[in-house]
Amino acid sequence: MMQQRLSEKSAQRKAGDTLLSVRNLCKHFPIREGILQSTVGHVRAVDGVSFDIRRGETVGLVGESGCGKTTLSQCVAGLTTPTSGEILFDTGRGGPLGQEDRIDAMPRDRYRTYRRNTQMVFQDNFASLNPRELVIDCIGRPLRVYNEASGSELTERVVELLEQVGLGRQHLYRYPHQFSGGQRQRISIARALALDPELIVLDEPTSALDVSVQAQILNLLWDLQKHRHLAYLFVTHDLSVVRHMADRTVTMYLGRVVEQGPTETIFGNAAHPYTKALLAAKPDLDDDPSVPIATLEGVVPDPARPPKGCRFHTRCPVATPDCGWEVDDIVRLLEADETLFQSLQGVARKTDLEAGLTFADETAAAALHAALGSDRVPLAMRTATETLDLNGKTVNIRFRETEEVSLTDRGEGHQAACVLGRGGQ
């Protein structure tokens, strides 16, 4: 009976059609301070992201910790309401995806279709299972929610699901704490499979597991996908996993997509310096996945105050004068230099590109003035400086205007957001 249901469903599934589309998605978290809890700013966890997931494909989502991967997955899974932008899901209405397919504006019955067709597996295999729920209740729960089965039929369906993830009947009446991490993740996967969904969002599904167990879970996910025509949004900070699993790869940096394309293209011919840096830090499949990926210099800037232009310009090894240099870059420079930062008295900002910085004494001002003209700042930044003058205790600076850096086509289905190598250059 299960087999029949499956084949019916896969007949409707046309591989390659867009299943889910994320358009200009933003999710900002207010930062509240003080006793009145007034909003003093926003963490721009996801800040204008667009990409598609097609039926039956795996989209790998990579990026350093804190770049917004989990927030984005939660939006896709319908767990948080985006600040702006939209998520469209094909509920079988027919025709191209449009405003009627927004998950936040669908009629009830179609939202239900989206809801049961998008499932999620979490990183923490312990926290994602209710410690007071037996395996049979846990995996059977989605079936109960949709009145799909009860009694002995439910038991049989759960056994079937357990067997599909490499567990069995003997595990029905156990509690989560009686399993190993890998087994618990198998239970989570079985629960996600119970409703026979079209899309599973996997948020770092193997990151919390031992290396040997990781491979088993990846193989399981791989096999399940081949048998059941699932689409995966596979979130990870481990590039080797993406290379294994993903048909297409999306690289995120500070809430934005900086590059996306077919996985072979990304791994063989990356266009974005950030992707290249990630790959250089971790080029090999057989590397120890527990070694952190980013060996880039500098720290990830505050997502509440992301850099202008290309957000990566503060760390980019090949940055150009057109990458969005701004007054904040000087503020970041000063923050790193304690003595100078302490004598800073004020920043009179005319625009993001022009400001006067006043210090307590003339020596400090002169020191900053000298630093900004020396190789203590990147050449690209110096080149982007249009005015730099010292006026007593004040340093006046102005940077050149630059354009926004957005995703541009780099080949078949390949896009990158970088001023280098874009159209004709």
């Binding site: 767990l79 809801r115 998008t118 999620m120 299972l129 209710n130 007071r132 009947r169 629960r191």
Partner: protein, 303 residues
């Protein structure tokens, strides 16, 4: 085939039962908890079988019997192994029926306050906003006053009687449950397993019933066990001060009424009931602490 499969003879109910057995076993492996359990079993046995252990010969068994022919007898007197009071009440009778009074008091107060606390905590945690703010402000105020002082004030306003002591304890003891319940709701609501339930489209009611309630019940059960002891301690103190009725078989009242004789060497009328209050409070506190460890699903089964 199905019938011979040993796994199929398994059922959810059996597994849950076995788990309770495991919790109990792990409770008993801790010596202080085991001691507490034994004391509790003895005390409860005493309370439940009081009518057989000490058959009353007056219509209201909660009144101390009076035998004006046998007042102020020391322990060891035939027929009065623990001696008698100034009014000729048998101290053993008071000890036994006093355990029944204590059990009544603590059971009523714990059940009422757990329900009130869980309901108020749930409203605060689920509704949120200004209702939450207001309720939690009340809870903070309640918690800033020591339980004993607060109960004393309420009982004093209500007037001296055993029922009013129970009433005042109910007014005082619900706050901790409200606080625990609200904190648990906020904590569990953000847990991955609730996220998972939301992803599968389960209703808020089911999430409350299947995720929040079972997981919040652990700290509530621990607090309830501790309170079984604390309530008797506070209740007996109120009786001692004179906020209960005179002449009833209640430990605090017995201590209070017997203390006048201590100066003249008649220590037994208040010492034995006092010892019972101490044992009762100690035993429930020992078990409450043991439960806290045993019920943690992350550690249980690993020992």
């Amino acid at each position: 085939m199905a019938m011979t499969d040993p796994i199929l003879s398994e059922s959810a109910a059996k597994v849950r039962l076995r788990r309770q057995g495991e919790v109990l076993r792990s409770l008993m492996t801790n010596p202080t908890t085991a001691l507490g359990m034994i004391i509790i079993i003895l005390l409860l046995g005493m309370a439940i079988f009081a009518p057989y252990l000490m058959p009353p010969n007056i219509p209201d068994p909660y009144q101390m019997p009076r035998d004006w022919g046998a007042t102020r007898m020391p322990p060891g007197t035939p027929g009065h192994p623990l001696g008698t009071t100034n009014q000729g009440g048998d101290v053993l009778y008071g000890v036994v029926w006093g355990s029944r009074s204590s059990l009544q008091m603590s059971l009523i107060v714990v059940s009422v306050t757990v329900v009130i606390g869980v309901v108020i905590g749930s409203i605060a945690g689920i509704v949120g906003g200004w209702i939450d703010e207001a309720l939690m402000r009340v809870v903070d105020i309640f918690l800033s006053i020591p339980e004993l002082i607060f109960a004393l004030a309420v009982a004093a306003i209500l007037g001296p009687s055993f029922t009013n002591i129970i009433l005042s304890l109910c007014i005082v003891f619900w706050v901790k449950y409200a606080r625990i319940m609200r904190a648990q709701i906020i904590l569990i609501r953000q847990s991955d397993y609730v996220q998972a339930a939301r992803v599968m489209g389960d209703s808020r009611f089911n999430i409350f019933r299947r995720d929040i309630l079972p997981n919040a019940s652990t700290p509530i059960a621990v607090q309830a066990t501790l309170d079984m002891g604390n309530i008797v301690l506070v209740g007996a103190t109120l009786s001692f001060i004179g906020l209960s009725e005179s002449g009833i078989a209640e430990w605090g009242v017995l201590v209070s009424e017997g203390q006048a004789g201590i100066a003249s060497g008649r220590w037994w009328a208040s010492t034995f009931p006092g010892l019972m209050i101490f044992l009762w409070a100690l035993a429930f506190n020992l078990v409450g602490d043991g439960l806290r460890d045993a019920l943690d699903p992350r550690t249980e089964g690993k020992r």
